[in-house]
């Protein structure tokens, strides 16, 4: 069995003195998509930010076997971690081209891949990112991560607030990316989780309460209700 690309061990995170992640432990396999799930406000985004060192944290984080929890954020990212934040966080005053150029970490950017996945961005290269639609901004945010050769992608709610057609495009781009790089995906849309993820980690109250295969969770309505507080319409559709 191959070594996990990411091991999170007893990770805790704090924002302004408030504990938002508590003793979280899980790992991300070196292949495929692992979904980090949970009800609103359980600390999924904070967990991602703790892994990256964007918030105050304690505990261990290992990337490809090497401890990175004592490194500043930019050093962790330089080791091959792509980050797609919640709410896109594109630089609105910069053009699309500048957003992508800024994200290039070395002299071998994968511009061909970005242009193939997001042809719309090529046409809008000179447009200010702040004037793009939410869907287009999400493309920029994804493209910033995919333009580099990564060992791991941390993708936080990439379909939040997007129209269904755009959700499909984003999911397709992530599926394409997942062929070459493992992804830790925070996602509320269970259709997308079902389509992309092989494994799931469920958080509740800042702690991990379930780890297993995606089908073990998503095929079990009781677990979905208990852990996520939602009804999975996809499983209903499947059972008909």
């Amino acid at each position: 069995m191959t070594e996990p690309i990411l091991v999170v061990d007893r990770l805790s995170g704090r924002i302004a003195g408030q504990q938002v992640v508590e003793d979280v432990s899980f790992d991300v396999p070196a292949l495929g998509v692992t979904a980090l799930l949970g009800r609103n406000g359980v600390g999924k985004t904070s967990t991602i930010k703790s892994i990256l060192g964007l918030i105050e944290r304690t505990g261990e984080v290992r990337l490809a076997g090497t401890r990175v929890d004592r490194l500043p954020t930019h050093r962790i990212v330089q080791r091959g971690v792509g980050y797609v934040p919640e709410d896109r966080e594109v630089f609105g005053a910069l053009t699309v081209g500048e957003n992508l150029r800024l994200a290039e970490r070395d002299d071998r950017p994968r511009r061909d891949l970005v242009e193939r996945l997001f042809p719309d961005l090529v046409e809008r290269r000179a447009q200010r990112a702040g004037t793009l639609s939410g869907g287009q901004q999400q493309m920029v945010s994804l493209a910033r991560a995919l333009v580099n050769e990564n060992r791991l992608l941390l993708v936080d709610e990439p379909t939040k607030g997007l129209a269904p057609r755009i959700v499909d495009e984003v999911a397709a781009a992530l599926a394409e990316a997942a062929k070459t790089v493992p992804i830790l995906l925070v996602e509320q849309n269970l259709h997308v989780v079902r389509a992309l993820a092989e494994r799931v980690v469920v958080l509740s109250g800042g702690r991990v309460v379930f780890t297993g295969s995606a089908s073990d969770l998503l095929d079990d309505d009781d677990r979905i209700r208990r852990y996520l507080g939602v009804h999975d319409a996809t499983s209903e559709g499947r059972s008909r």
């Binding site: 500043p72 930019h74 970490r105």
Partner: protein, 291 residues
């Protein structure tokens, strides 16, 4: 008509000085969230050392002034970068400590300058042409105003080119908008902090040398006086906006000149009232980003 023109061009000249100080303040606040109360000290030390070197090489000539300007910019850049590296870097996100350190540095440096160069202003020589006037539409404009305006325009153009055309400029523009996301792209944003301090220090250093031309003297309080107006300009223009700082510099200085002439020397008061009005009506300033 000639009075109006004189007031406008004199205002533009003074605005140029304000901009040279405010540009650095605005960039530093925009990127790092640091209100740098020591910025005036960068200006003063640059003015003194620029004057010391310039007068020894060729006092009262263009060559002497050019050397003063180069020395002033270098000193400003080095002192500012050293301040960032040695003092400010440890205090990011700790705003009260930053204010205490920079205020302390400003007070201590004025005392140091007074100890070295005395408490009285030291009158300086300048090239003959700068002491003369040029008549435009009946207004006799002091020639030094043209030099100030030209230098500020060059500095503005240079900074804009740097921000638009270089990778560090790109990082700085992005960092002004969202510093943590720049870090999350794998960029060590702290390097840009030092560069921004150096650029701001160089502009303030040039401002110090030009202030000695404008006022005709150097003194330990040169920076403190200009810093107050530079802060006002920075707030009115919008913290973090270079364009805002440029526009507000001109507006504030011209307004000040008009109020001094037509309202019995109330220029400073009118500027403070303008600041209060902007804070009430548009707290983010003319071109500042929405919080």
């Amino acid at each position: 008509m000639s009075t109006l023109l004189l007031l406008i061009i004199t205002g533009l000249g003074l605005g140029a000085l304000y901009f040279l100080v405010a540009s650095g303040l605005s960039l530093i606040y925009g990127l790092m969230g640091v209100l740098n109360f020591a910025h005036g000290s960068f200006l003063t030390i640059s003015a003194f050392l620029g004057w010391e070197v310039g007068r020894r090489v060729s006092d009262g000539t263009w060559a002497g002034l050019a050397i003063s300007a180069v020395v002033g910019m270098l000193v400003g850049a080095v002192v500012a970068a050293a301040t960032e590296y040695l003092l400010i870097r440890r205090l990011y996100e700790r705003h009260i400590e930053q204010a205490l350190v920079t205020v302390g540095l400003a007070l201590a440096s004025v005392a140091l300058f007074e100890g070295i160069w005395g408490t009285d202003p030291i009158y300086t020589q300048k090239p003959e042409w700068l002491g003369q006037t040029t008549e435009i539409l009946g207004a006799k404009i002091p020639n030094d105003r043209f030099l100030l305006i030209a230098c500020a325009a060059l500095v503005l153009g240079g900074i804009v080119l740097f921000l638009q055309r270089t990778r560090y400029g790109l990082i700085i523009r992005a960092g002004v908008e969202n510093r943590s996301m720049v870090t999350a792209l794998g960029i060590d944003v702290r390097r840009s902090f030092t560069i921004v301090f150096a650029i701001g220090g160089a502009a303030a250093g040039l401002g110090g040398v030009l202030a000695s031309v404008y006022y005709g003297y150097v003194s330990a309080h040169l920076g403190s006086v200009l810093l107050i107006f530079a802060f006002i300009v920075t707030v009115i223009g919008g913290l973090g906006s270079l364009t805002g700082a440029a526009i507000a510099s001109v507006l504030v200085a011209v307004l000040q000149q008009f109020a001094n002439y037509y309202l019995g020397g109330t220029g400073d008061l009118v500027v403070v009232i303008a600041l209060a009005a902007v804070l009430l009506v548009r707290p983010r300033g003319l071109m500042g980003k929405v919080a």
